[in-house]
Symmetry: C4
Subunit: 273 residues, 4 copies
């Protein structure tokens, strides 16, 4: 009977895709650990003081990750038709291959493939960073991203409004400091784009300290900007926090509803078989 | 029949004013893009390293914006009587011309008009910045500003109270650091106004690093101020976030109610004609 | 009849005390402006570049404030028996004189009285700052302070708990950086109190930049502290914001209820007289 | 009768453990003050300018704390069987001795025991810091920790999701600045780990100012990171604040319910005896 392989494929698909069950399978866990490890290697590899003594280990790990993510890619390709929209064995798989998630998976394999041939140092530097894209795979492990994006989108109007207000205050502040401090610190406030760097770093309350007003009038305007910044930053923060909170609530409910449905849909056949 | 031009004027008025429909028409979108572009040109024009090689492009764009906003101004003048409070064809239009929005529109045209004659460098610098006023035009595209201002006004008492408390802590901190650090760092804490600059930058958690206490006692007071600052900044932030959230909710409801009403009011005549 | 002066005294008392009516009378407004002005003069007076050219003006204003606040003090003394707890004409007024608010009022008069005799420069510097105490008078204009303090007190347990957690993370971070960076930067991390200065400035996200780790391990611990700090600062912030919001709500309701009662209690007699 | 000593042990157990009654007994208060004092001594002892002149006092206090916490340890050992899970007089006490809380108590006694013998300076430095562990004892005074941990755990999914998003933006920002600024500031952005230090300090809005971009493109990316950081930091902040608020609410209700139950359970016997 073709029931068994189909069941295997379905189970493998389910194990690969957390969206179905709402919790992480052992395979998901292992893949997440592998992705995080591969990113860690890519990050540490840029630091010469770490990368040089561990060059052999890092190369070995990269080959291991190539094999692992290659097998994962093929497994996803095989199980793609389990998803209704990629149901056709041939066209469905082709359509899956051009989906953004699959392209990211393929790109994430690229840096490892580099080992096949010699590349100039600059290109290699860039390719190594492509490994970071593997992290985007993690997004697939949760459909919460979509829900979160929807939540933010549903408050688009408020966010645009408050961000617009913040930008306007930022621009007006930058203009004022350009007029006030432009002559005493031309390299720091000599143009509005330069003043804008100060305005962004001040209104986000980062305050590196590379640019700050030195004249009394400039300090007065900066103090008013700082106080206004709190209110203007508070608005999108509050709205975003509420939106995320709502999204999380909705996400939890959606997962629960779907799990119940999925279990109902998948359970009846086995007892009868 | 005079029905057609009146219908055209009404439709143009509706296309110019987002407040009526609650969503942005294609014309609104084009105007917003033009305003943002004109502000971008004004901002980049102050940076010599960008403005010099692109002088011809920037001048051309400014002439384009002059024509565009001039036509927009005339169109708004023509359609003004569509708004009930400017209903009279002559006096209504005159009253519209002295409304704040119309004056800002006219002022926003000023920098472009400058090209007609030569002006001294300092005046030119100021006039260039008048272009930023074009941004204020964006405010017209949403009546949410009014609602937001009302929301903030409705919590005026709480905001004043918490801001007052924050100011008092700021002032007391500045006094203490003036007394403690005034002698060891006279240029930074030598007077209360100078200490206040430190207090504002500390309590807003910006912390440029141009001024900070160096004595153990000063550091102790600064640490207490920093911790107190969190609570005192949290209060207006929380109140403002709630106010903005309420305003956004009310705004959404108001827009929906008005749209329904506006459509009811505008739709019946056409089917009968 | 003694009715008229009593009515005058009652009306003056009401005009002086905002707590009764819930809104600010013209007299309240004038007093608030005067208090703020007197503080502004006291603050600007410490800055030599401002105080020297305006010495005569500032002295004149100080004499004016002396007279004004002296008259206000006497008026409050006269109207004190209007408050039930100071009802006795003699003992009530004496008890009012030793209430904290009255003592602050008297102390706020002290710096102006200084003009009577010569004082050494150092004492004068201290006395000038006593003027700041006048600001505390503003607190009297609102009973919201009491309500706010009550609101914070009602969440004492949560606040202590979260603040305690924040302090413990701060202390552990300071200990770790003392152990890690103590030898490479002995003047900055050479003891736990010195490390604590870094921990406070980091966890409140101020980040002056006078102290920061330079070793990789120190940076790793600092990064973890920074991320933990966000959560630990968020907790008291959220609790405080909610407490303040509740207090403001309760305050508004209390004021409304009291005003209605006060008007009922004060209105009936006049129509009958 | 054996009723009296059992009652004494129960009352002592109750006085030592705040979890039972929901409020702090006088003994609890004294112990908390002693713990805080001992930590204060341990902290100040690392600062040579304070520790040297007060060496005798600090040594004396340490001996006092040794005695106090020793007695406390024995008292807790004696009263351990009052807790149902340590009910057996011998095995219960042994099991209590290996519980984390009891081990921390024993470790907290270690630094004082050091006085018995001579230790090298480096070990002594480490042992002194073990005193900080005494602070962890405070955690025992409130079962709120458990509830809080549960509250955070119940929102694990949202927190992981938002923290993951924040980490990803941090990593992408660090990569971009490594590519953009890596050549102009190799010691600051020359590798992704180095860039990550900048990204953490920027996105938490600390901004020490030891690392910041200097190229226009780097500043643009940094500005976008700063603005994105606000939203990404706002999400976990909002979720945490809500979780803490919920936990505090639940904790208060749990304490009240338990106290009522505990009083019911303990009160009936005495009236009958």
């Amino acid at each position: 009977m073709s029931e068994t392989p189909k069941g295997l494929r379905a189970r493998l698909h389910c194990a690969l895709d957390v969206g179905r069950t709402g919790k992480l399978s052992a395979l998901n866990m292992a893949l997440i650990v592998a992705i995080l490890l591969s990113v860690l290697v890519a990050v540490l590899d840029t630091e010469a003081t770490i990368a040089r003594p561990m060059a052999t280990l890092f190369t070995g790990l990269d080959i291991l990750f190539l094999v692992l993510f290659g097998v994962e890619y093929l497994a996803r390709l095989w199980t793609a038709p389990e998803t209704p929209r990629y149901a056709h064995p041939v066209w469905g798989r082709l359509r899956w291959m051009v989906s953004p998630a699959a392209i990211i998976d393929l790109l994430a394999l690229a840096p490892a493939l580099i080992f096949a041939g010699a590349t100039p140092a600059y290109l290699f530097r860039l390719f190594r960073l492509l490994r970071i894209l593997r992290l985007a795979k993690l997004g697939r492990f949760s459909r919460a991203w979509t829900l979160m994006a929807e939540a933010v989108a549903s408050r688009r109007a408020e966010l645009l409004l408050t961000l617009g207000a913040a930008c306007m205050v930022m621009l007006v502040s930058a203009c004022l400091l350009y007029l006030i401090e432009g002559e005493s610190q031309p390299d720091k406030f000599g143009s509005i784009p330069r003043s804008l760097w100060w305005a962004v770093i001040t209104m986000t309350t980062i305050g590196y300290g590379d640019v700050f007003p030195v004249t009394p009038l400039g300090k007065l305007v900066a103090a008013l900007t700082a106080v206004a910044g709190i209110g203007l930053i508070a608005a999108p923060t509050g709205i975003l926090a509420a939106a995320f909170s709502d999204a999380a609530q909705r996400h939890r409910e959606a997962i629960e509803a779907e799990c119940a449905q999925a279990e109902l849909a998948s359970l009846p056949p086995p007892p009868e078989a």
